[in-house]
């Protein structure tokens, strides 16, 4: 398939599925108030599981047993965690971690 067309389809698929998740509560529970237990359950616990998987996804190409094996990534994540525990400012934590990472891969783990 044409690469540009496939890209358009990827974006449209993401768009339609996102809309589905946003419309779902209004369409399904607009009339009756009772939300099925399994939906309640999955909706509450899935996000934290998915985010954990997404962190692995972000690191998928850097984690390895061979050096540097993701040292820069692990150190930068520690910076994000420390910054966030300290100030709890989302932007500061993201910017700090990203800047440290960009410095590390240029000067330390080249």
């Amino acid at each position: 398939m044409n690469a540009a067309l496939h890209s358009v389809l990827i974006i449209l698929t993401a768009s339609v599925c996102t809309i589905l998740t946003r419309v779902a509560p209004f369409a399904l529970f607009g009339r009756k108030k009772e939300v099925p237990g399994i939906i309640k359950y999955l909706g509450t616990i899935l996000p934290s599981a998915i985010i954990a998987t997404l962190i692995v996804y972000c690191l998928r190409n850097s984690i390895s047993l061979k050096p540097p094996g993701g040292f820069a990534e692990v150190l930068s994540i520690m910076v994000v965690v420390i910054l966030h525990k300290w100030k709890r400012n989302t932007l500061l934590s993201i910017a700090g971690g990203t800047i440290v990472y960009m410095i590390l891969i240029r000067f330390v783990f080249v």
């Binding site: 690469a3 496939h6 890209s7 990827i10 974006i11 449209l12 698929t13 993401a14 768009s15 599925c17 996102t18 809309i19 998740t21 946003r22 419309v23 779902a24 509560p25 209004f26 529970f29 607009g30 939300v35 399994i38 939906i39 309640k40 359950y41 999955l42 509450t44 616990i45 899935l46 996000p47 934290s48 599981a49 998915i50 985010i51 954990a52 998987t53 997404l54 962190i55 692995v56 996804y57 972000c58 690191l59 998928r60 190409n61 990534e73 930068s76 994540i77 994000v80 965690v81 966030h84 989302t90 932007l91 934590s93 993201i94 910017a95 971690g97 990203t98 960009m102 891969i105 240029r106």
Partner: protein, 233 residues
Amino acid sequence: MSRESIKAFKYAFIQSVPVLFGYVFLGAAFGILLQKAGYNYIWAMFASLTVYAGSLQFVLVSFLSLGTALTTVALMSLFINSRHIFYGLSFIERFKETGKAYPYMVFSLTDETYSVLCSLKVPDGINKNTVMFLIALLNHVYWVAGSVLGALIGQMIPFDATGIDFSMTSLFVVIFLEQWKSSRNHTPALIGFASGIFFLVIFGPDNFLLPSLVATVVLLTVCRPFIKFREEK
């Protein structure tokens, strides 16, 4: 514009300022990433207008550059955004009162818009429905503007942006920390992490995501009797 709508706009704008900074910054990071992957500002605008979901759009950049299969994209989008079901639940009755804006209110209910709308206390004399609509619209505008800006910056200033994609990892780590703090039960997070590592080792970096997500959902469903969770109100 009437005096009343100016008042409503002013009020909505002030409420949306925190989102302004967040969205322009994150949107720009998305735009730069997308541009680096070979997609210009028109693509950034298209994605931000139609998808309008922060964390998903970051993952989308890698999906686009890898030409990922649509089934993976669909499942991933549904999974990442499954939390939106809960946002909507709090506004089922409320949004109906917004009249013509109703479909847009449903479409544009992001994490940030949700949190602003939840804490909204509109003073008397200002139309609450107008304010809600304007907040939703302004946030969307910030997000699109940020992404276009990022894509243009990435195009015009030829600086070495290698490593900027770590902003995505950082974002997920921050969300992870926030969720960890707000939930008493950490089993779901640990299952998601363990399943990710397990399938990464077995299937390798290009094919692990989908099986890992499916396994996570199955495991969590099976483990339901053992996982006590705090119901959200």
